[in-house]
């Protein structure tokens, strides 16, 4: 009934028309305009602007630096993620320890991505709390590659942890047991069994971190300094300070190439990672033997150290939000919190309104596209899947600049409104909902829906009464992601704020780049608490709604 049903199923046709129109407008069109700006010079196609970037030593240096930083963040973040994932799945730690690790690794995920950079400015450098006060070092600098790397690694390693934990958990210990009973040493089992099985997951984690670092202009804006210019920050300053759309478009394109390569590699690895679970269901645990007490001890010590560093940075942030002037006047005050709820109220209100509009739209979009991809066969299905992923896969800086260029002037002038910010969230963050829907539906037998259809229900009714209840968890996951991103993301939306609509994250960055550290810290604490509350709520809901026998869904969509 499937493909043949296209002509007889007006709902499906109408849905596809609407989806493709939206995707054409909010995904394809901005990218085409961006490429047009970068490659059309005075009406004629030209490589001139691109060559001028390649020829500029400063830009070339920034490009190389960006790749170096992203590479290092990928390596160190994946290693930290592996450490935590190993501790969580292989070190037989008590439950309370695992919950504590989970809670601490959650912190960077639910705060704006540059929050640790304030704490780093206090901690390193000639008068830093760590380098000077604790270690007595002189001649250090708070700016440059080391501190930027530290900040980004601590911010993004939880993504690697969340990616690697299920991968390690799904490796059947019985496979490792078999190796032991065949006489292999622990080390040999780790290198020849466990690690190879985890490789697709490791590659995936590395690429996710690489892309996250490539998109981050805010951390280097604060920490990189003149010695270590990076491309996203240069593109940001070029656009925001000079409104140099052409220059910004060309710099964005330079970022787009590695991002696209990474995305293609990632698709390759993700596709392979499906083969990891060789035996399907994980057999009964026979007790993991892969770690000696010494190795276990080292892993736990490593995790505790990293967790302490993360906690230290957030404690510093909390402290900065509660004192008059950090480092000069450490008297307790609630003035910064008063300020964010009075002066900063508009940003909070705007953010919540935009999140409230974006959440149901993003959730619905994810579920509709996910259902179509998982359940229906129609011409252009693969194309639909790929196009919905574009805005998600690209660094936010590129998406933001593309939206600004595409929607700043007629025929489609949207800048200045809330709609453009909502659209940015919906089309950038719905892939989490899409993938959750697909994953959910793959675990549910399609015969349930076919039964509904053969009893005479049309596709709309079947969707509403059968499929929708089944995909409700994915809907809420999509909703949660849009909320978290509305509160924490900045790389795309900073280009889209206006006099009428502003966002908390943009206020935080603005406060930080001025001199109002207290409000920046207070805003950050507020965001962490709000997102933590909503994440906890959505997670509880997801556990309630989880159909028996299906895999749990994470709101972080990694």
């Amino acid at each position: 009934m499937r493909r043949a049903a296209l002509g007889r199923d007006p709902t499906l046709v109408a849905t596809l028309v609407v989806l493709w129109s939206l995707l054409a407008l909010f995904v394809v069109y901005p990218m085409v305009v961006l490429l047009g700006r970068a490659f059309v010079d005075e009406g004629a196609p030209s490589l001139g602007p691109l060559l001028s970037v390649v020829g500029d030593p400063h830009h070339r240096k920034a490009f190389v630096n960006s790749l170096l930083l992203a590479m290092l963040v990928g390596v160190f973040g994946t290693l930290l993620g592996l450490l935590f994932a190993f501790a969580a799945t292989r070190a037989s730690l008590p439950r309370s320890w695992l919950s504590a690790f989970d809670a601490i690794t959650l912190l960077p995920l639910i705060s704006p991505p540059f929050t640790t950079s304030i704490a780093i400015i206090f901690s390193f450098g000639p008068r830093g709390l760590i380098t000077h006060d604790l270690l007595g070092l002189t001649g250090t600098s708070a700016y440059g590659l080391p501190t930027t790397l530290l900040s980004e690694t601590l911010t993004y390693f939880p993504i690697a942890y969340l990616t690697l934990k299920p991968v390690l958990a799904s490796i059947d210990p019985n496979v490792e047991d078999m190796a032991y009973s065949l006489g292999a040493s622990r080390r040999r089992v780790f290198w020849t069994v466990t690690l190879p099985l985890a490789v697709p997951g490791l590659a995936n984690a590395f690429l996710l971190l690489f892309a996250a670092s490539l998109a981050d202009f805010a951390t280097p804006l604060i920490l990189a300094g003149n010695a270590f210019p990076v491309l996203p920050t240069q593109a940001f300053l070029q656009i925001t300070g000079l409104f140099d759309f052409k220059g910004g478009a060309v710099l964005s394109f330079a970022l787009l190439v590695p991002a696209a390569v990474v995305y293609l590699l990632q698709r390759h690895w993700v596709a392979r990672s499906h083969y990891v679970t060789v035996t399907g269901k994980v057999g009964p645990q026979s007790g993991y033997k892969g770690t000696t007490p010494l190795v276990r001890g080292l892993i736990v010590v490593g995790c505790v150290l990293v967790a302490l560093v993360v906690l230290y940075f957030y404690a510093l942030l909390l402290f900065a939000s509660l004192v008059k002037a950090f480092g000069a006047d450490n008297a307790f005050t609630l003035a910064h919190y008063y300020a964010i709820f009075s002066e900063g109220w508009r940003a909070i209100r705007d953010t919540l309104i935009i999140a409230a509009i974006g959440m149901p739209l993003g959730g619905l979009f994810g579920v509709v596209v996910g259902t179509l991809i998982a359940r229906r066969d129609f011409p252009g299905r693969d194309a639909l899947e790929i196009v919905t992923m574009i805005n998600y896969a690209l660094p936010g800086t590129i998406v933001g600049i593309a939206y600004l260029i595409a929607f700043n002037d007629p025929p489609i002038a949207l800048t200045g409104g809330a709609a453009i910010i909502v659209a940015c969230y919906v089309f950038r963050y719905s892939p989490t909902g899409i993938r959750a829907t697909v994953a959910q539906l793959q675990q549910i037998d399609p015969s349930i829906e076919e039964a509904s259809q053969s009893l005479g229900a049309r596709s709309g009714e079947t969707f509403r009464r059968v499929t929708l209840p089944l995909v409700l968890p994915a809907f809420f996951a999509g909703l949660g992601v849009v909320f978290i991103r509305s509160m924490t993301a900045i790389s795309a939306t900073i280009f889209l704020v206006s006099i009428s609509w502003t966002l908390i994250t943009v206020r935080i960055l603005e406060n930080m780049t001025e001199l109002s550290l207290g409000p920046a810290a207070a805003f950050s604490v507020f965001v962490v608490l709000a997102v933590f509350a909503v994440t906890a709520g959505v997670s509880t809901l997801l556990r309630r709604l989880k159909a028996p026998g299906t895999a749990p869904i994470s709101v972080f969509g990694t």
Binding site: S141, G241, L242, P360, G416, R464
Partner: protein
């Protein structure tokens, strides 16, 4: 699925309605403020209390604000550009984005505090200063810098912070100061700027962005507007403020109505108020260290004491406005990349 779409459309309509509700209203005023929130908010709140006109404002560094106003020329989103150094207003006047308006105070303002045709008027005066960390000076047995050349001292290597000319008017005022002390000889001025680059650790997005690191001692020093520098000192950070003997620029802080403003009456009221003693006498009250532009408002005594022996010259708005774009581009091309 049709119902789902009806809901989607409903949600979009709701969003649109919310949008319309927040943008349409009568006694309102939209402004881009170049002054940081700390300075702009108390002033604009007072204005709102005194006139009942609701002010929406968004803070941008001056390069950003100017770029936005130029980009929005055909469909202006704000009525007023509030605060910010004179070079930004000179450049805006050159781009034709302002509507001339002469407030009552126009007649009494000194010539350098107004555009002859009323494209902009000044609401304050703001000199640049050198600000250095006192502990850094003591550790390196240095005096606070007394000359532009002092900033080239090797002790400051990779230790200074100052603003990025792409975004910040503080930076542009600084560059025009260097041009003036070099007799507007661009070759000499850029030669100095390039040498200074070697001692700069970070060009910040906002003019005041480096004050906190200098206050904390994470940076050795920098060049800032006095309003930001004195605020850092007032917060308790141990910093020294000094002036170069060759002189340093001061920027008239301007206000202007945007051409095509949607609320011109409210915009004029704000310009009237901000250019009069009504606002400028509030500086001292709120401990904001701007020098008043209106001749009837006295400079607060402690601020006057800091400025007493300093050699300060005004930045010429016509020269700066005409050359701003070119000078910034040259700075981006020649100074920013370093060697």
């Amino acid at each position: 699925m049709t119902r789902a779409f009806r809901r989607t459309i409903g949600a979009i309509a709701l969003g649109g309605a919310l949008l319309a509700a927040t943008t349409a209203s009568s006694a309102e005023l939209n402004a881009y403020s170049i002054w940081p929130e700390n300075w702009a908010r108390p002033m604009l709140v007072e204005f709102q209390n005194q006139t009942g006109i609701k002010v929406n404002f968004l803070r941008f560094s001056s390069g950003e604000a100017l770029a936005r106003i130029i980009a929005e020329k055909n469909n202006p989103r704000v009525d007023v550009l509030f605060g910010g150094p004179v070079e930004t207003f000179g450049a805006g006047a050159k781009e034709g984005v302002f509507e001339a308006y002469k407030p009552p105070a126009f007649a009494v303002l000194a010539p350098r505090f107004k555009h002859a045709d009323g494209q902009w008027v000044a609401i304050a005066d703001d000199p640049l200063v050198f600000m250095t960390n006192a502990k850094f000076l003591a550790d390196n047995k240095l005096q606070p810098p007394q000359s532009w050349a002092d900033l080239l001292h090797p002790a400051y290597k990779n230790g200074l912070q100052m603003a990025d000319a792409r975004t910040s008017g503080t930076a542009v005022t600084r560059i025009f100061s260097v041009l003036e002390v070099n007799g507007r000889d661009e070759t000499k001025a850029f030669d100095y700027l390039k040498r200074l680059r070697g001692n700069v650790q970070l060009y910040t997005k906002s003019g005041g962005g480096g004050t906190l690191p200098v206050g904390l001692g994470q940076a050795a020093g920098g060049i800032f507007f006095i309003v930001d520098a004195l605020d850092t000192k007032a917060k308790g950070y141990d910093v020294a403020i000094s002036f170069p003997k060759e002189g340093i620029g001061t920027a008239a802080e301007g206000i202007a109505m945007i051409k095509g403003a949607k609320n011109p009456d409210s915009a004029k009221k704000l310009i009237d108020w901000a250019s009069s003693p009504a606002m400028q006498s509030l500086f001292a009250l709120h401990k904001i260290n701007f020098v008043p532009a209106h001749p009837e408002v006295k400079t607060e005594p402690s601020l006057a004491a800091v400025l007493k022996d300093a050699k300060i010259f005004p930045i010429d708005d016509a020269y700066a406005g005409a050359n701003r774009k070119r000078i910034v581009e040259r700075w981006v091309a020649e100074v920013l990349p370093g060697n």
